[in-house]
């Protein structure tokens, strides 16, 4: 078990996290292209800029641990091991999608990989994560559940009830808030007097910590400790990661509400080159390895896209299945 004290990623963990960040970045960029090209229907919320959070947390979880994701959850699912091809096919609405084309971007699920689903109702996934953690406790499986949520979701009643219930029952769950400063088109200050969601942890008698969400080593230490505490039976932690989304709230959002300097400032703190440098300092990733890794990831995303494009549409009658067991 990891010691929460000041856990640092091993070489393998670090390279895995770096690769996952790349994968998410390329995957999301490809989704944006395919959406613009009209290949992906519906609404799409991308997470470019926020990759470090999902990638680091995902690397710290067991295969049988669970992740409850948000509407901005492609990366959260991929980092937990969801198959990019089946996720892409789901976004394309194809029969081969992870949810047979019934869910789409806001309802991605891959239970075998511990991906409990993205969710279209803000805040609604937190209570469900409390439930999987409850089952882990009652069944004694040792599983940990991670519930991702946003700064905006923190103001929902569902989030409050879930945080309190998880705390009073000391359940093995970690609440990871990706605070990207905006809910849709509105800055956080319009939604709350407090700017740090982790400051709400004491209201539940729960430890709360805020970290730079674009700094993998900082995230790693904080998440390792929170997961460790949860698995050990000491209960939930509210872990807040300060980060930023590069693209609009949804694809097609003109982003008129954000000062361009703000975006530039955050781009300067892009988590991927930052962690690349960190790896470099340790001599853990030579340039040619980096190039190979980039090529591998690109190929994986190409394969996923090809798989999605070449997959059949669901039969219309499939809409009638899966309502009841």
């Amino acid at each position: 078990m990891l010691s929460g004290a000041a856990a640092a990623p091993t070489r393998e963990q670090a390279r895995a996290i770096y690769r996952t960040m790349h994968l998410i970045r390329r995957f999301e960029e490809r989704v944006a292209e395919c959406f613009a090209a009209g290949e992906i229907p519906g609404f799409i919320h991308l997470s470019t800029g926020q990759e470090a959070v999902a990638a680091t947390v995902g690397a710290l979880l067991r295969p049988d641990d669970l992740v409850s994701a948000t509407h901005r959850g492609h990366g959260q699912c991929l980092a937990k091991g969801a198959d990019p091809a089946r996720v892409m096919a789901e976004l394309f609405g194809r029969a081969t999608g992870c949810c047979r084309g019934k869910g789409g971007s806001m309802h991605l699920c891959d239970l075998a990989r511990g991906v409990l689903g993205t969710n279209g109702v803000v805040g609604a996934n937190l209570p469900i994560a409390v439930g999987t953690a409850l089952a882990a406790r009652v069944r004694g499986t040792g599983q940990v559940t991670v519930a991702f949520f946003g700064d905006g979701a923190a103001n929902t009643g569902a989030a409050h009830e879930a945080l309190n219930l998880a705390a009073v029952w000391s359940l093995p769950v970690v609440f990871v808030c990706e605070n990207n400063l905006y809910a849709e088109f509105t800055p956080q200050a319009v939604h709350a007097r407090v700017s740090r969601i982790a400051d709400r942890a004491p209201a539940y008698g729960m430890p709360g910590v805020t970290v730079d969400g674009n700094d993998v080593p900082a995230l790693f230490a904080a998440a390792a400790s929170a997961i460790d505490v949860a698995r050990s039976g000491a209960g939930p932690t509210l872990l807040e990661a300060m980060t930023y989304r590069y693209r609009g709230h949804h694809e097609g959002d003109p982003m008129s509400y954000r000062p361009r300097e703000e975006l530039e400032a955050w781009r300067a703190r892009d988590p991927i080159p930052r962690f690349r440098a960190w790896l470099g300092q340790r001599g853990w990733l030579a340039d040619e390895e980096d190039a190979r890794l980039a090529a591998e990831v690109q190929a994986e995303v190409d394969r996923a896209t090809e798989f999605a494009r070449s997959s059949p549409w669901p039969e219309p009658t499939a809409a009638l299945e899966d309502v009841y067991a």
Binding site: A124, P127, T132, L134, A136, V138, A158, A162, L165, Y324
Partner: protein
């Protein structure tokens, strides 16, 4: 057969299923030591422990969400929502998560979970503690809804609901908790989706829900004295509705009255009437009649609530009407 109270039949069903399957857990406000606000969980925590019988904070969304997550992870939770009037506080979890999860995830999981709650006016509990809101759930695919009218039915339907691999709302009636009735000894299951003819008759069909079943039976007695033979059909399960049973009874009697405590517009009575207008029109020998309370909240004062609540007399009058015997 032994006589058991409705509320005791619930506690027995829970205890039997918890003993039978350790995946069954119970969650809700005061369901532990207090045994629930109405005693339906009495004795469970002493027998099965605090891990499986959990008192919750006043957090209906978290309670229901927790049950959903637990069901998705291998447990078979039974949640109690203290009054169905409060279900609006967790309605999003019920309709957007519980009802849709299996479907929108392409059938990857099953959600074996039961949500117990109760409806019913007549105790002067006032506008926020007396409602009958089952129709909202009947409107939602992915949910099953049962509404038992007797101790035997509540025991058998609750046990069947706990064993079902889908979310099932078990809608009890607070005014029936004290009612005594015969319950078959030993294992007693009532299949979901099967209506029950509570009284056979030839001249008119009364489809009645929950406590109204007993009012309909009283009405049938009154009418028998007038030489009218009334069939009382208790759907027991509202979703999926036993359409064949309704159509068969109307085919026999040619006349239909529907009685429930819920409001009329878009209620279960509307659905039953529509079913017959679509698939049983030829057998209808008279206009359908719905017996429901007036379209107002439930008044507190006994002086108003008594008149507000439909009963045997109003049901009998409706039957006379469809028989063209308006006095």
């Amino acid at each position: 057969m032994p006589e058991t109270r409705y509320v005791k039949a619930i506690a027995d069903a829970l205890a039997e299923e918890m003993a039978r399957d350790e995946r069954v857990i119970v969650l809700g406000e005061d369901v532990g030591a207090p045994g629930g606000a109405f005693g339906a969980t009495r004795g469970l925590v002493q027998r099965f422990g605090k891990d499986r019988v959990r008192d919750t904070p006043i957090s209906e969304s978290a309670i229901v969400g927790a049950a959903i997550g637990a069901a998705a992870s291998g447990l078979r939770p039974v949640v109690e929502i203290m009054f169905m009037d409060f279900i609006g506080t967790c309605w999003d979890q019920v309709v957007n998560q519980m009802a849709k999860m299996r479907y929108m995830f392409g059938g990857q999981l099953r959600l074996p979970l039961v949500l117990r709650t109760h409806t019913g006016a007549g105790l002067n509990a006032g506008p926020q503690h007396s409602g009958s809101l089952e129709a909202w759930a009947v409107h939602v695919p992915g949910l099953k809804v049962v509404m038992p009218s007797t101790p035997a039915d509540v025991k058998g339907l609750l046990k069947a609901a706990i064993r079902d691999d889908n979310p099932v709302l078990v809608v009890e009636n607070k005014t029936l908790y004290a009612m005594k009735g015969e319950v078959p000894a030993g294992e007693h299951l009532v299949p979901l989706g099967r209506a029950d003819v509570k009284r056979e008759g030839r001249d008119a069909t009364v489809v009645a829900l929950s406590r109204m079943v007993h009012e309909a039976l009283r009405a049938a007695e009154l009418l028998a004295a007038e030489g009218v033979s009334v069939e009382v059909l208790d759907p027991r399960t509202l979703s999926p509705l036993d359409r064949e049973a309704v159509l068969a009874s109307v085919a026999k009697t040619g006349r239909l009255v529907i009685a429930h405590e819920a409001w009329g517009p878009c209620g279960v009575g509307a659905e039953v009437a529509a079913l017959v207008a679509e698939h049983g029109l030829a057998s209808l020998r008279a206009p359908v009649r719905r017996v429901t309370p007036p379209f107002t909240p439930v008044p507190f004062s006994p002086a108003m609530e008594k008149a507000w609540l439909p009963g045997a007399e109003r049901i009998a009058a409706a039957v006379r009407e469809v028989l063209g015997r308006c006095a």
